[in-house]
Amino acid sequence: MAKKKSSFDRDKDRSLSFTRRAIVLGALQATALTALGARLAWLQIVDGHRYKTMSENNRINVKLLAPSRGLIVDRYGVQIAVNNQNFRVMVIPEQTHNLENALLGLQKLITLSDNQVQALMKQAKKSPKFAPLVVRDNLTWDEVATVEVNLPDLPGVSIDVGEIRSYPMDAATAHLVGYVGAANKGELEDKDPLLKIPGFKVGKTALEKIYDKELRGKAGAAEIEVNVVGREVRELSRRPGEPGQDLVLTIDSELQKYVQSRLSDSRSASAVVMDVHTGGVYAMASVPSFDPNIFTRGLTPEKWEELLSTEGHPLNNKAVGGLYPPGSTFKMVTAMAALELGIINENTSFFCPGHFSLGDTKFHCWKAHGHGRVNVVQALAQSCDTFFYNIAIDIGVDRLAEMSKRFGFGQILGIELTEERAGLVPTRDWKRGAMNKPWYPGESVVGSIGQGYIQTTPLQLAVMTARLVNGGKEVKPRLAEYMGPTKRIQTVWPDLGLKARNLDIVMRGMENVVNQPGGTALGSKITIEGQEMGGKTGTAQVKRITADERARGVRNETLPWHLRHHALFVCYAPIHAPRYACAVVVEHGVGGSSTAAPIGRDIMIMTQQRAPALKDAHIPEGVAPIDKSNIPPRKPQVPEKIPDDDVIVPGKKTEL
């Protein structure tokens, strides 16, 4: 044998080795196939009888039934989100003589577009002939009656009743409750079998979304006997499932409606009224609003486009999601920081010549001729900017930020709304990180009067006011009074560690804003005895008017709307035992005292008239979900799609 094999021999060896191994693998495959064949024969012949019995027992399908969604009511039980009956026209294709004719017949009785008819014909082709199709839902009473009368002439057509979410208060509570809709792909990750029920709706925004799990309830089940081709023969039993829990809000719906309508003169505004001790929100409005019912009754693309393009963004809840510089309403925080740090005391005063100089830069007070000599109480009452400019550098940005955070700025306060935003409280670190620039002293100066980088929400302004007047407690805003039988509202809150004396000084300043001559909101004073309020106006700059423009006589009111100042007002009442705090922001409303304060006054008067804090919220009787016992069980079960998509949970237990 040659020392080295020839190429021919090597190929031959390789070929032989390949063949041997190929035979090994082939034999393995043959063995596996034979084993599978044997297993099949075993199952079908030896065990066949047993499995045949089991398959016979598999005649009962269990179908999931959607529970009633929990209601949302206000603190007195007034309905805010309910379930209305939803009448639908169904058609079973095989029971009609001709599906298209049946649909055209229906078209004469109810509103049904040609496109819908075509879509239904298409859908029918894809589904088994015995599966009912939903022709249309949300029928009006007239339509139901018309179809009922004509049923004898419409074989295969039937009327079926389901539930549809409805919001009786329309736009007034739209931003609070949000709306429901079909689960999207991401939400389907949720393992709750309910989501697989065709047409099942989940909360999409706001309270409906945050409390979705509790509102949803637990699925019921119906056992349905089916015949050998899967047609449903009869319903054997029905377990209605557990309806969702009812949600009782802290909201006073009358007050809510009032606030919403009081704001609606403005093109874009929002307001919050809350309890300074419990944090319960009595009213929260954002204007413009929208009707949430259009989302449950079927939203057209045109309507959606319209909502998106409307000025003032009706879909946004600006009370928790709108970000504004707080302007002069922030001066209480600056004053508290200076008082707590010992930089000033009640008697410290500064002279206001109408401006403040830092190096070469001149910072103007809103009053060009100055306020003269003012202490902190007077500075708050007259909203003197110069006073705060003078203490700004001593406080410093980081210590001011620390105090802002204690009052709830720059953070999510955890109200049960999806749109809540944290806003921004600037610090040296933040500026270095965000802009890679150092902090300039001039920025501290404008920061002391709530201008510059700071961004706050109306809700945060209301919370700040509440914390100032409730004795320095870290109250947080809440919307749920009860979830089901559980009380959710909290009455004891941690202490912020602020000196009562200092809080008192600031409150005196706020009192004087409204009640003393020279106060910026004197025109909005409440004269009803025992209902007097304290407050603070604010005007937040959107566009700076330059010295040159001022010389030319450019005034803020004459600028285009979107460049005008935001008008803000925060207030509390009654003045000697504060219970209610309120914040009003009118976008581009020009002036806090001229635009926002009168609204704040009216809201405070109405709030004290309604006095929601004096009447305990309760779980009202008679808000139990619609009693369904007198609604007859649906005649044919209603898969909206082909049966494959039905939710079937394991059927009758077979003995195994």
Partner: protein, 377 residues
């Protein structure tokens, strides 16, 4: 110097090539696919929509693609084997990276007109690259451990990527398909024995790293009755469907288990059950026999091939196909855990159909060009 004394067919005309297409194999493939159409028609309750019609269109398109691939000169496949592998590997990495960058667990790349699933493509590419690598390897080469390191990397790199997706089923398929090619190429048997023993020894470790849903599948497999209302439900219902069919079956469109929706995933993973419920033992064995004939036909093509590349490619692809068929059928009969592997050519699904027909196209290319002369390296 060539050991092949004649290579007359290296430059065939189109007509010659067309004649050389393995029409028997085409016939068998069409038969199996037709079983699929019937089953899908039945799965939709006696309706072409929504599955059967789409599946037919895809099969038609795939068939044309298969012929085109079969006609392409095998030397081209040989030359670009590594390139194709590299492209597949890059796509796999892209999918993995995209998944990491916040797009969620994704197994495909959306090209707009088609969703490309690189792992599907990779099954073929791995076998092709290995066939190229071992094409000219001698038995002496095969005994050198260093010679076997590159192919190990060729297999393990994509397997690792697919496994972390996580897609254990496909990862395991690539691994087994690749291992089969290495075995066929003549690697020492002790490697495989060590591999299998090592694999079994490391099972406890594997158990630790499995996702909970994967563990649940294994537990269910070991004892489906432990939770008949939950995860074991699928297997039990599948067995009931098969068992109640008897020898003759319940008849076309009359499978009560499938039509009453007791059978899960009846158009994809459990389609064999649907078929065997309606056509009984005879239908089931008929389908198994068709599969066996396809295996045998491909094996024969492989053995007839006169170059290592073609032999390894054809047999490797056949093994891959058979693994799918065998594992799927074993799964629905309760012999293996439910791993979500479709029945090739029958289960509803576009990507799988196209990649399978691509594979058969390559096998046919091996047949048409069985006497081609390929470069030694």
């Amino acid at each position: 110097m060539s050991s092949f004394s004649f290579d007359v067919q290296s430059n065939m005309t189109f007509a010659q090539k067309f004649q050389q297409i393995s029409w028997g194999l085409v016939f068998l493939i069409c038969m199996v696919a037709s079983v699929g159409f019937l089953a899908l028609y039945s799965a939709a309750g006696g309706n072409l929509e929504p599955w059967a019609s789409k599946q037919m269109v895809r099969f038609g398109v795939g068939l044309v693609g298969m012929f085109i691939i079969a006609m392409i000169d095998i030397r081209l496949w040989h030359r670009f084997a590594y390139g194709i592998y590299a492209i597949g590997f890059i796509l796999l990495v892209i999918v993995e990276v995209m998944g990491k960058i916040g797009m969620g667990a994704q197994r495909w790349i959306d090209l707009g007109f088609i969703q490309l699933q690189p792992s599907e493509f990779m099954k073929i590419a791995v076998i092709m690259a290995l066939a190229r690598y071992f094409h000219a390897a001698t038995l002496e080469d095969m005994r050198r451990i260093f010679f076997l390191i590159p192919p190990a990397l060729i297999i393990l790199a994509p397997v690792g990527l697919v496994m972390v997706q996580p897609d254990l089923g496909t990862g395991g398929m690539i691994l087994m398909g690749g291992a089969a090619v290495v075995f066929l190429a003549g690697a020492p048997v002790w490697i495989f024995i060590t591999g299998i023993v090592g694999g079994i020894a490391s099972l406890p470790v594997a158990w630790m790293v499995l996702h909970e849903y994967q563990r649940e599948r294994v537990r269910t497999f070991l004892n489906p009755e432990h939770d008949p209302m939950g995860a074991g439900y699928h297997i039990i219902q599948s067995k009931i469907a098969l068992g109640s069919a008897g020898i003759e079956g319940k008849g076309f469109l009359k499978g009560s288990q499938a039509h009453l929706n007791f059978l899960p995933e009846k158009q994809t993973d459990f389609i064999f059950t649907l078929w065997a419920e309606e056509w009984g033992l005879m239908g089931g064995v008929f389908l198994l026999a068709l599969m066996a004939l396809i295996f045998a036909y491909c094996g024969w093509i492989s053995l007839r091939c006169r170059h290592g590349f073609g032999r390894l490619l054809a047999f490797g692809l056949m093994v891959n196909f058979s693994l799918y068929a065998l594992i799927n059928i074993a799964m629905v009969m309760g012999l293996l855990p439910v791993v979500g592997i479709p029945l090739p050519l029958i289960s509803y699904g576009g990507t799988a159909m196209l990649s399978l027909l691509t594979g058969f196209g390559l096998i046919m290319s091996c047949n048409i060009h069985r006497d081609s002369k390929l470069p030694r390296m």
